[in-house]
Symmetry: C2
Subunit: 513 residues, 2 copies
């Protein structure tokens, strides 16, 4: 029953009961460690950035958090000739973007990885940093697994990633169409101003499905989509928040659609980054040089009439303005003097992070391709209800990746680690055969156990939050500006939103200094 090879569980917490299950815990991958920085930063025409020396204790601006949002802000400020200090809690940059070295020059990602059409900001940034994309493997048939029955279907039909199940297809397409239509009346910069905001923020997505008499069988496929998209269940999310998220899944020229969230070709899972997504923040950090301070968790932000003082475990720094670019529940844990307005504080009390794991199994080859399969599965049975072929561009080794989200992650996370692994591999075997149970390497990344993220992929908003607290999401508080993907108006929850939020926050700061 037990698979061979080495296993890695990426978890911040193992629990007090100890583990004793013979797995390898790898250390956190630091900037530049374990990751092939295969190419030097390409020479792209741009203004020579203002450099901040590693010993500087003050700068024009301080950025809290070296995820892609904070680094984007720092880079923009630097390019405008401003000095900047970036304070990062971890001993690495990238936040929710994290490469994992598979050996042999191959990497996979344990966090954000996919990009697609309309995500122009992350794509533009990647291009500037010399990071190329390649199409996610999508040749052949997808697997559909329902109530223990396995079948296959093509996602190249107009129905896209929706399985060709006559019992659910009509209702599901109808529901997606209705949600898309409703979302068009939700302003992405102020969802609480939608005409029906109060009604839509008074109920859950689950209630909407029930009230619209959607066939209950659809719920299985809905959970397969909602669990990875939000790290949550349909009952956890407000209908208004869902509609905002859909509206935000596009850009200024292309209205958002729900389908983009769960589609490969033409959707948010269309492409991946050569060398792994973390290459982008790693290269920005290299460009920023000594301005980036690792292992420097910020504990306190003090505002005075003349500036801001930021107290971290790595020292005290001062600046004219500060950008806080960490997840809302992490931002809410900082001490602020003076206290933040209560609306902002109570907002972060209500922006709990989703629950999401990624399970990745490494094989000598992507064996499912020979069976004419894409490696993609949609299942009503957990723990991994959605899978992808996460093999490197050349397909020289095989990697299956499964999302385990929402209730599946909450229950799985309480089992002994070896059981978590066995159950994840059982999902892979259900879709791609018994061979899937014998990986040569296995990695389970549980983002809820990460102290500096506390969940993934995004903050999940229940009913009533956007309506009464939404205005505080990105409203600056004196010299404090808010970044991070949760503050984005387009592609909120995605890398693209994080980049957009960083750009917007940098613009706010530039207007002040």
């Amino acid at each position: 029953m037990e698979a061979e090879g080495s296993f890695t569980f990426r978890q911040g917490v193992i629990g007090l009961q100890g583990t004793g299950s013979g797995f390898t815990r790898r250390g956190v991958i630091g900037a530049g460690a374990g990751i092939a920085l295969s190419a030097a930063i390409p020479k792209v025409a741009r203004a020579k950035p203002a450099r901040t020396s590693a010993s500087a204790k003050s700068a024009d601006a301080i950025v809290v958090g070296a995820g892609i949002s904070g680094l984007t802000a720092a880079r923009k400020l630097s390019a405008a000739g401003k000095t900047v200090i970036v304070l990062e809690s971890r001993d690495r940059v990238g936040g929710r973007m994290l490469n994992h070295d598979l050996g042999g020059g191959h990497v996979t990602e344990l966090g954000a990885q996919f990009v697609g059409p309309t995500q122009d900001h992350i794509l533009g940034l990647a291009k500037e940093m010399g990071v190329n994309t390649f199409k996610a493997y999508d040749e052949g048939q997808n697997v559909y697994y329902k109530s223990g029955q396995r079948s296959t279907f093509s996602d190249k039909l107009p129905t896209g990633a929706v399985p060709l199940d006559p019992l659910i297809l009509p209702d599901l397409l109808k529901a997606v169409l209705q949600l898309d239509q409703m979302s068009q009346s939700v302003p992405v910069d102020a969802p609480w101003r939608a005409e029906k905001a109060e009604e839509w923020d008074s109920q859950t997505l689950w209630s909407w499905f029930k009230d619209n008499q959607i066939n209950p069988q659809v719920q299985g496929v809905v959970s397969a989509a909602v669990e990875p998209i939000f790290g949550a269940e349909a009952r956890d999310v407000s209908l208004l928040y869902t509609l905002f998220y859909i509206a935000a899944s596009g850009n200024e020229r292309n209205p958002g659609t729900f389908e983009r969230n769960f589609s490969t070709a033409g959707g948010a899972q269309e492409s991946r980054f050569v060398g792994g997504s973390q290459l982008i923040p790693l290269r920005i950090a290299q460009e920023l040089g000594g301005a980036v301070h690792l292992s420097s968790p910020v504990r306190r932000i003090e505002q005075t009439g003349s500036g801001v003082k930021v107290i971290s475990d790595g020292g005290t720094f001062s600046a004219g303005q500060v950008i806080v670019a960490v997840p809302p529940p992490v931002a809410g844990r900082l001490q602020y003097d003076p206290l933040l307005p209560s609306l902002r504080d109570q907002l972060t009390q209500r922006m709990g992070m989703g629950t999401l794991m990624k399970a990745e199994a490494v094989y000598d080859e992507p064996f499912w391709r020979k069976d004419g399969l894409t490696g993609q599965a949609v299942s009503d049975t957990g723990p991994a209800k959605i899978t992808f072929d996460n093999s490197p561009p050349d397909g020289s080794i095989g990697v299956l990746m499964g999302f385990i989200g929402g209730r599946e992650a909450r229950t799985l996370g309480q089992l002994p680690l070896e059981e978590q692994k066995a159950k994840a591999l059982q999902s892979f075997a259900n879709y791609f055969g018994e061979q899937a149970k014998k990986p040569k390497d296995f990695i389970l990344m549980n983002w809820s156990t990460e102290e500096w993220t506390r969940g993934c992929p995004v903050s999940v908003l229940g009913p009533g939050t956007l309506l009464d607290f939404g205005t505080a999401i990105r409203e600056p508080v004196g010299r404090i500006h808010w970044a991070g993907t949760e503050t984005a108006t387009y592609w909120n929850g995605y890398m693209d939103g994080a980049v957009r939020a960083g750009e917007r926050a940098a613009g706010e700061v530039l207007a002040e200094i």
Copy 2:
């Protein structure tokens, strides 16, 4: 238009825009300061407690938080002969129980104040501490204010505090009855195990009202009840959480009922404490002496194989066990080493505090009594939708108290302070006449601006939280035990629940040491 006299706004945060509105901000009332400790601690037969000297850096147990829950735990441990250290962030004890000196030997309460039948634990504790009760003033007619129309009704009829409005009475009574019946299938110690837990935790209370075709006019009165009870709106709360809260509004012998939450005679607002509710924690603290450290916010809790180390601004302390007795969003802000299990951490990410203010206006006399009024009002119009006569026992001065909760508090809290005051007094005038606009003193307490509470009266749970995260509410994590009213099985959210939780947590610790 402007009322005369002095005004006090009890707010931790005024906002960065400054105030400039000519009001008096009083300092925080410290233990013993400004409060008449009118009687020495009565001699009650009990074991001589183990005293901990003020200089002790270690003890058998440490309690984080000197609210009534933490102090109850400390007192119980002390009575069992254990040494204990209590670490409190504020420069006073009592947490959400806070007296306010009105001068002339009179006090009113800015936080928890009422007690009633089945709340045996707080009543028993008060008796032990020599604090007496008196009946809340309830003579005469209640005011009902709907869409600008004022009428009066008696709450001594079988319909109790429900206004005699033929348009809403039948539906409201039906709804309360149904909710009471449903609540009886919810186990107070494990609401997630109710047979219909998944269905009930998938929707909001608002959705339930809608689906049961309750007359929309009922919503006005529902908001009047839900705003003070939860500091939230019907859309903010999970139906399962509401049913749990109802089930918990009783004791082991008397099943909970919704009515008890909003009734005066026979309900949770039946009685008050002579000298103010804070007298109870003040006397416990006096009994514990040097064991209570004020102005010592805890920042970090480290567990080792042999004990626990608690790092506060007032020093580092060690013990065998620790009880954390602060609101969940405050507990979630501490640093833990090792990190807490992710289910516990993500639970506190989802237990945002309600939004609640108390407005209190002081007059030379309780003038409404002469008009045959109880001082109680139920209104569909904010900001204060529920009021009480909060005058001292002898009625020698008059105090009107209004609850401002949920959306009313969230919007009111963003206005200039003078406008907040004017709007609150307008509510009082709507119910009791223009005379209400001329108080000799006015106090507005906004609990959302209190750093060490961050909202009131209780954590508010949206859909999906109890179901997936509920098991972590009071499950000890190694040497860490959880108290506070949010962990109570009966009278969760009330003083009685806080006392019960403190007793339970102390029992857990005594079983370990």
